[in-house]
Amino acid sequence: MLAEGLRAEASATIPAPDDVVRATVRALGKRYGRHVALDGVSFELAAGEVVGVVGPNAAGKSTLLACLAGTARHEGSATAHGRVAFLPQRAQLPGPATVAEVLSLFSALRPEGADVAELPADFVPAADRRVSQLSGGQRQRVALAAVLGGAPDLILLDEPTANLDPPSRETFFTAVEAHRANGAAVLIASPVAVDVLTGVDRVLVLEAGRLVEDRAAPEYLASLEMTIWVRLVPGRSAETLGALPGVRRTAERGQWIEVDTIEASSLPLLEALRAAGIGADEIRIGMQSGARSPGRES
């Protein structure tokens, strides 16, 4: 009886309803002293939906996930429907524990049942290795394997791809797809928009604790700012490149001309640059890592 009581108090979760809503957030607010971390955030997550939460540092992304996981007090409501799995930002597993012990613990903590995502055996390091002996990326993989086990209904991941190499990222997104196919809703937070856009259906943009955008991922991706750097040579200037299609702003920076555009206009612009006789070796391309919407900025 005591043991039942000790483990019965879960986070703010209620059983999953028959309909498809996995999380409901209404007028969510959170303050740390005078600092407003979240202010009137509202949205819903449907079953099978993978949603990215983006925004600059201190925008409220981690706090939003913590409120939904039931580990942070808040105003308004943040209700998870069903079982929650949560990977907080920079979670540190106890160093003296082995990989096998961490995975066994999380296996024992969740309801019995098969794992939805079959992670390949080489995703995590050898079972007998201690966490303190692992690299940052290996630790992140162990933590991901721990929380992605079983069949959670709502998966909350705060910067899950931090420290992951490309093959591990691919495995991770494959696992996310498996959970999506099983009817889970997945919320992935990152300050770097391009990190979470793989396989995401929808993007929530937070700024200073407010939800400023809730858009379909392709639409958001198309509006992402890009910068193309073109080598500055005699006869070439910021003004001449400014006349090309899709260019929003140009500026000369040392040996380079900085050309701002958006993702949707990038291909036509690159074609125009090539037509103007600018070779590939004279061009550098970068997607802006910030999550600010270019539409809102201009």
Partner: protein
């Protein structure tokens, strides 16, 4: 499948076993065990230099020294390791991961406390075991019976210290802060409260009832008086407060009162820690 499902067990038991492994492999527990074992051996060997000081049939200087060791060192281990373990897991968001998995705050606190208490009990077993082995060659076996009572009381005091440490770990923001606070609280219960009572006595008459209150308000003092009663059974070595209670209520009720106080020193901090963890962000 990566997770080993063959070892699926009760969640709380699994968490306690996990925490115990982590704590027993940690530096704090290892240093505590070795330090206490070494000190126990030294005190016992020094006691052997004078047979008059040995034995637990009555309370001699060697017995008092072993009693103080058993009450002080594993207590420090329990308090500091308990505080730093919980605060460290909070700081590293591991507690957040566990809470999100549906483990109740009181469950987290209880698992940590059990694991820390286990590490302190292992220290006590090592120290008492070595002392017993040395003493068994020099004193009658009947004298060692008092050892059992002393051991039981020391376990109770260590468990109370682990509960206090767990509470400190819940209150502290960081692992470092928790460790420093635990050391400060340990000094307070080991020395500070005694000095306070002595200091008050210098300026005003401290009544017997107040002295009894001072004993009950300090788990180490509660344990010390209880252990002396378990060893000696007489009021001669108890000091004014212990002597007053035994005279007033008799031996058995006094021991029951002290044992109840010790249980309260375990239960109240644990319940408080569980409540605090439930009402604050992790």
């Amino acid at each position: 499948m990566i997770a080993d499902r063959a070892h699926r067990s009760d969640p709380l038991l699994a968490l306690t076993v996990f925490e115990a492994r982590v704590i027993l492999r940690g530096r704090g527990a290892v240093v505590g065990m070795i330090g206490y074992a070494a000190a126990s051996v030294i005190v016992t060997l020094l006691g052997l230099t004078s047979f008059r000081q040995l034995g637990f049939g009555s309370v001699g200087p060697a017995a008092v020294a072993l009693l103080n060791l058993a009450l002080l060192l594993p207590t420090a281990q329990g308090m500091v390791v308990g505080a730093m373990t919980l605060a460290g897991e909070r700081e590293g968001a591991f507690l957040t991961m566990l809470r999100a998995q549906g483990v109740a705050p009181l469950g987290l606190v209880t698992a940590t406390w059990l694991s820390v208490t286990l590490s302190a009990v292992l220290s006590l077993m090592l120290g008492f075991g070595l002392s017993s082995a040395i003493l068994a060659s020099a004193v009658p076996l009947s004298d060692l019976v008092g050892f059992a009572g002393l051991f039981a009381v020391a376990v109770g005091v260590a468990a109370a210290a682990a509960a206090l440490g767990t509470l400190i770990g819940t209150l502290a923001e960081t692992r470092l802060q928790a460790g420093l606070a635990a050391v400060a609280v340990w000094f307070a219960v080991a020395i500070g409260l005694d000095l306070l009572v002595l200091g008050m006595g210098a300026f005003a008459r401290v009544g017997e009832v107040a002295l009894v209150g001072a004993v009950l308000a300090n788990p180490l003092e509660t344990g010390r008086v209880l252990a002396l009663l378990a060893i000696d059974g007489g009021a001669a070595s108890l000091g004014p407060a212990g002597g007053f209670v035994v005279t007033q209520f008799g031996l058995a009720p006094t021991m029951a009162l002290l044992a109840t106080a010790l249980v309260a020193w375990i239960a109240v901090p644990l319940l408080l820690a569980g409540r605090l963890l439930a009402t604050r962000d992790t």
